[in-house]
Symmetry: C2
Subunit: 524 residues, 2 copies
Amino acid sequence: MRRFVADKVKNLINRTRTTCSSHTNVLQRITSSQFLSTLHPSDSMGSDYSSTPVTLNNVNPKVLKCEYAVRGEIVNLAQKLQQDLKKNPGSHPFDELPTLILYCNIGNPQSLAQQPITFFREVLALCDHPLILYKSETQGLFSADSIERAFQILDQIPGRATGAYSHSQGIKGLRDTIASGIEARDGFPADPNDIFLTDGASPAVHMMMQLLIGSENDGILCPIPQYPLYSASIALHGGTLVPYYLDEETGWGLEVSELENQLKTAKSKGINVRALVVINPGNPTGQVLAEANQREIVEFCKKEGLVLLADEENVYVPEKQFHSFKKVAHSMGFGEKDISLVSFQSCGKRGGYMEVTGFSPEIREQIYKVASVNLCSNISGQIVASLVMSPPKVGDESYESFAAEKEGILSSLARRVKTLDDAFNSLEGITCNKAEGAMYLFPRINLPGKAIKAAEAAKTAPDAFYAKRLLNATGIVVVPGSGFGQRPGTWHFRCTILPQEEKIPAIVSRLTQFHKQFMDEFRG
Amino acid sequence: MRRFVADKVKNLINRTRTTCSSHTNVLQRITSSQFLSTLHPSDSMGSDYSSTPVTLNNVNPKVLKCEYAVRGEIVNLAQKLQQDLKKNPGSHPFDELPTLILYCNIGNPQSLAQQPITFFREVLALCDHPLILYKSETQGLFSADSIERAFQILDQIPGRATGAYSHSQGIKGLRDTIASGIEARDGFPADPNDIFLTDGASPAVHMMMQLLIGSENDGILCPIPQYPLYSASIALHGGTLVPYYLDEETGWGLEVSELENQLKTAKSKGINVRALVVINPGNPTGQVLAEANQREIVEFCKKEGLVLLADEENVYVPEKQFHSFKKVAHSMGFGEKDISLVSFQSCGKRGGYMEVTGFSPEIREQIYKVASVNLCSNISGQIVASLVMSPPKVGDESYESFAAEKEGILSSLARRVKTLDDAFNSLEGITCNKAEGAMYLFPRINLPGKAIKAAEAAKTAPDAFYAKRLLNATGIVVVPGSGFGQRPGTWHFRCTILPQEEKIPAIVSRLTQFHKQFMDEFRG
């Protein structure tokens, strides 16, 4: 029966392929059988849906075009393996290990057992259930400053309870806090009316793509490799992804000459390029932009009349300091009327915000309207976003534990990234740039011709072929580079550095053993 | 300066109007100056944005078309008044009252001081900060069953902490709970793989519109009046709203003959109608569908090959029982392969889910992919959705307080709706149908010709004119009916029944006084 379903899946995929063309040739198409995880029990009975109204021929073609590998085929395969292992322990070579499947595909620290920051959790819990703020037991359970902060936040919420809805841009008092945090970080003013609190960065990116893309003639300059939220959102909104390649040789450098060339090429094809996406630190590539480079990028956007869409994280990297694009633009003398800039920030726990500057009042009205259609983002996420931008200060009861927890996480990440990076670089045919500020590594694999042929025979991208073999042999889940885009003929995969530190040696050893066997099988 | 800004606003609105045409003539256009609340401080200086790249001429025209009155002009006016009153107490006629502005525009119980359900809040707080589960003080602060439930939920989350992300459809264990809740409610099986947990209902509606709308030739049958999420989402995705009118004379009845006529008209215009939206209980209209009516609707969708998009709430109404469309379809003998049905449920606190049945595996794959692009919904909302579908049971420590809180809320709502309904019906020229299951009333105002002329002179819809006068005179915020659509020449407004019960007499008295003065001013 499973073979029957698998064949059916392949047929469907082939049908999908013939009904849609790739929106860009840089994102290699990989087979996606994501619905394996959502199959209805009765589907395997082979009965048909011919009398239901929605088919691949009449579904929105933009949806068919959209791809999202980070949660695609490999993850579904992993979930299937996990179910198999539950039913038949011992059925896979790696199931003697404490955690059977190691999800290194997504940057979710908690699912990989990183403990959340205590101060954030205390404030969240108190805001969720304000009645306990008035009980004596609470003093023993929560720090004084988290109690005080919860009171402050609740005072800013009408009705003093984290209810269903807030202002469409988020609770005003929390936006005030975030604006102050941005001011303190950048040394330039920030306006709470410029802040839109969102459910993570995804809805914010969708909102801006919705605003900018009216037809397939509207193009968005997007790095390759890129986090596929961008390619997916551009495809869903019916625009054209205009790729610019990051230079792997210079540590995934962003060359303005490359931007200029790609812009020129796009214009010659009649594409009206509206915006430039910059991801800093890079995802999946991990590099942090130098300030001088950021100035060039700002100049380029100003000169070419492009909106700068900056996906930014406040990650602290000892060697390279993080500078927001807004700070860079302001330090160059550009003000509100000179450059249109949107900074996307994701703060974990489905919170985040975008800071929107340099748009006319009539366009701000349109952004506000689109935000209003979704009512508002979730209040817990709004609170976390405000806490991240305004953590405990020296002298607060929580300060020392907060600082220790943060430092513990960062230094552990630094050790993990070094161990994994060294391991990758020691393997035959693998090279890996340093991750300077993100939670990922993006090693390049020089796959032997025989492996590429085997992948072709299996109708899968060579890096997806490698990732599947890795998963089946070791239980380690990584995302094939073809999901992010890469220079044609190069192959990569993305691996988070988030597994618990004590598990890293086992991961390295399993990876090394697998890679050797793989190369032995396909070499020369 | 304020006059200058206001004039500027009008010019912009006029410019907006000339660049876009209404996507449907049933939704009367109202002036929207939503960005008043988001104006940048420097905007009022009159400086220009001529060098910024995004203008009303090159923004996505679909965004311009979209309207969303629930959070529109009136709400911004209310916020402005509130700011004025903070600065200059005594500057408005109604500011002797304890709550100056009464937001009756949005159904957010907490902002109108309704206390949240204790059990839900306890479980949420414990899940957000699991460390306290192991402390002795916690026993004194939380009920035994909320502690037990928190442990159960955490056991279902990898890493045992409510972290950043989950499965794209939501945490599997919570979906199991929700599926069991649906089974218990309907008496028919429900599959956790059919459940997609979402940030309230809005993203779910967007997902389905995205799937079904490929171009303006794709139409969606939508009730008029309707909650404007639907018209906004159809406009944003570039489809055509095919209106069907609810019959106010029969308590906002849904006639299948009207559906048939509108479908025929749309087809004759070359519109390919893909789906039927049904809101039950009605929003803003409040009526609950009779089961026989639901069966007709299911038959109609089946016969015409339409996806049934059902916006459903589990509201208990003593007179009329709630039946889900899935239960109705199953009781008619229709199964998974016979009818494509999506049930949207919003559970408060930005949680909710959609239950997706009757789609082929290849289409389910596409829905899953679109859900994956947004990664997942917020975990607090996911938890609340599971708690709503699985509340405390007889014998649980929380059961009695939970039942008392719920009964208290419902009986108070019933008293409030009666008081407000009676008050509206006692006013000259106002008629109001009973709200059977929603949190709103939607009274009709027969406005005098002189008032309609005054509204025309003020370039605003007559019901928006009334709502603005009401707000300025009383501080009560309602949403004009033109934001929801209504039969041409009829005028309504939507008012929530959520203000605290002790405030209702003051609201009624203010409303009555205002209405009399308004009618005296404009009568005959």
